[in-house]
């Protein structure tokens, strides 16, 4: 089943084009990482998917038009926006009570058992909690909703590594199953690359790379070349080159440039690039232009 389908999705803020006609398709059961520099249009794309902003073009989420059917959609979709948005005045118990009151798919007992594992007390107000605890609370609420699609926009921004680790552990262990779909936008690629099934790079309102993690393994190769072989290696036309500890790291896109693997192995150590390195190579290869600063 297709969970998200967009064709020619476009959104402009005045003269600033945030989304420049993107096409995307997310199937059920995938965990999509949406990665892009600041102002690339990630949040705008997610807001359009969540029915928070009007757009041009075609967009269907779980078969619905998010802009005109937001509240019906929110029965099956839940999200954590890019900023901590739990109201500061609310008590933990009130937050659970309210969500239980209005959401048909919320399992309060489950949320309470999540919270029991934390140091959050039911009587505390959100403003008394630390930033990490607020995220834990929000996650406890969201993970207790039996939704088909979960959208997380920079969910762990500003959290320390321990909270981030816990966050993604509970996401995978307590929530994810193959019926659910998760879309995560993030800057913290290194910690997340092992949980994604699909990857999408977005830059200046356009999708510059969209593929599954398996495809990345078969498509991209990195070779660490010693200086004396660097010139020879460069004749193979790598898409990107960087220097580390006296070696040249050359990145090849085998789809565009079918280099022989054997030949690369003879030049140096061959491995699959990390997402962060791939991101820098792909985004860095885009035609130079001032980065947009829109949301």
């Amino acid at each position: 089943m297709t969970v998200i389908e967009a064709r020619g999705l476009r959104k402009a803020f005045g003269t600033n084009i945030a989304l420049d006609g993107i096409d995307l398709r997310v199937e059920q059961g995938r965990i999509l990482g949406l990665i892009g520099p600041n102002g690339a249009g990630k949040t705008t794309a997610l807001n359009a998917i969540l029915g928070l902003t009007p757009y041009q073009g075609e967009l269907k989420v779980l078969g619905r038009d998010p802009w005109s059917e937001r509240n019906q959609l929110m029965t099956d979709v839940c999200f954590i926006a890019d900023v901590a948005v739990l109201p500061r005045w609310i008590r933990v118990s009130q937050a659970l009570e309210y969500v239980a009151g209005v959401h048909p798919r919320f399992d309060r007992a489950k949320a309470e058992s999540f919270l029991a594992k934390t140091t959050i007390r039911p009587h505390s107000k959100v403003k008394e909690l630390s930033k990490g605890m607020v995220v834990q609370l929000h996650l406890a609420v969201v993970l207790s909703i039996d939704a088909k699609l979960l959208v997380l926009d920079e969910p762990t921004l500003g959290l320390d590594i321990i909270y981030r680790k816990q966050f993604y552990d509970s996401l995978l262990n307590d929530y994810y199953d193959r019926n659910r779909t998760i879309v995560v936008s993030t800057h913290q690629v290194e910690e997340l690359e092992h949980i994604f099934t699909d990857l999408m790079f977005i830059d200046r309102g356009r999708i510059v790379l969209s593929c599954s993690m398996e495809e990345i393994e078969s498509r991209y190769l990195e070779v660490a070349v010693k200086p004396d072989q660097a010139t020879a290696a460069r004749t193979l036309k790598p898409m990107h080159e960087r220097q580390i500890l006296g070696r040249s790291i050359l990145l090849f896109d085998l789809t565009l440039n079918p280099v022989d693997r054997q030949q690369l192995t003879s030049l140096g150590e061959v491995h699959t690039p990390s997402i962060a390195d791939l991101f820098v190579a792909v985004i860095g290869n885009q035609p130079a232009k001032a980065q947009g600063a829109s949301r």
């Binding site: 807001n47 509240n71 005045w89 609310i90 994810y176």
Partner: protein, 309 residues
């Protein structure tokens, strides 16, 4: 480098298949209103405090009344006593109602502005509650909740007043039976309830609708945006045409469509004022309700479009 996410046993997939509960619109409205009361305890605290302060003042006045009465400085005959107490009961009602009015104004101005300012609108919009339901729940606070609350608090205050005066004045020579007879709670409270629900619920609806509209739209300072335009319109009309229709319109709206509905208009046949058609025939009532509906629909549209500030 990429690993598949942790496999989940098939059994746990099936275990999660639970049929969603059905949440009725009435339930959503109920929880939305409770949410407003959690966020804004001033909705009930302010009228309560007004009642308590009034009772304290009343307590002091009773002490002094007893003192004067017992020393013959101010003999309290039955007719005079009736007036004294009737005006105090009335004053208690007016004080609590006025407090509720002020709370309602400030509440409405912040209702749709605050959630944009603190960005919690993202959280509220992540739940299956429509913009219409949200705005209606926020409208229900000044139109229904505050009038009913101030009614309950007024009745409670007046009852405590009666008890206080009975206890303090007993043995001072004042006839306690007269106090109870004059209080005539049932009649007065029916008029009060009628006044609260009609004037505060229907007649003022366009005012609260306007405040909510501004609250949904204002990029900053909703108070200014709510109160400046009426002044400008009045000024322009006065300068251009030397007329004051707009001012009269606002005055008429604020002061109510005449004394027929005021709680103190307890005429000898005061039950007549309760006959609904009297009020519901008032010119301007339904026009006002229609204007309120337009403002409210505007606020709903704005809430859908507006993001955080």
């Amino acid at each position: 480098m990429s690993t598949q996410p942790n496999a989940v046993p098939e059994s746990s997939l099936q275990a999660k298949e639970i049929a969603p509960r059905v949440v009725s619109p009435a339930q959503i409205l109920y929880w939305s209103i409770r949410r407003e009361l959690w966020e804004n305890p001033s909705i009930y605290m302010a009228p309560l405090i007004a009642g308590v302060i009034f009772l304290f003042g009343f307590f002091l006045s009773m002490i002094s009344l007893r003192h004067h009465h017992m020393h013959g400085a101010l003999p309290l005959d039955a007719a005079h006593g009736h007036d004294v107490f009737a005006s105090r009961y009335e004053f208690a009602g007016a004080l609590i109602m006025g407090t509720a009015l002020i709370v309602g104004i400030f509440y409405s101005l912040d209702a749709l502005y605050g959630e944009r300012r603190d960005r919690t609108i993202f959280f509220w919009k992540s739940l299956p509650v429509s913009d219409l339901m949200t705005v209606l729940s926020k409208l229900a606070i000044p139109l229904v909740v505050l009038p009913l609350l101030s009614f309950a608090i007024t009745i409670a205050t007046q009852f405590v007043m009666l008890l206080l005066s009975s206890v303090i004045l007993s043995g001072s020579g004042v006839n306690i039976g007269d106090l109870w007879r004059d209080a005539s709670f049932l009649h007065v409270s029916l008029v009060l309830l009628y006044h609260l629900l009609t004037v505060h619920g229907l007649w003022y609806a366009p005012i609260y609708g306007w405040l909510l509209l501004v609250s949904a739209w204002a990029p900053r300072a909703p108070f200014l945006f709510a109160f400046l335009p009426p002044f400008v319109i009045y000024g322009v009309e006065k300068l251009a045409f030397n007329t004051s229709y707009f001012l009269n319109l606002i005055q008429n709206r604020l002061l109510g469509p005449g004394n027929a509905m005021a709680p103190h208009a307890v005429a000898p046949d005061f039950m007549a004022t309760l006959i609904p058609h009297h009020f519901f025939d008032t010119p301007g009532l339904w026009a006002g309700v229609a204007v309120a509906a337009v403002f409210i629909l505007g606020a709903v549209r704005l809430r859908r479009n507006q993001g955080p500030i």
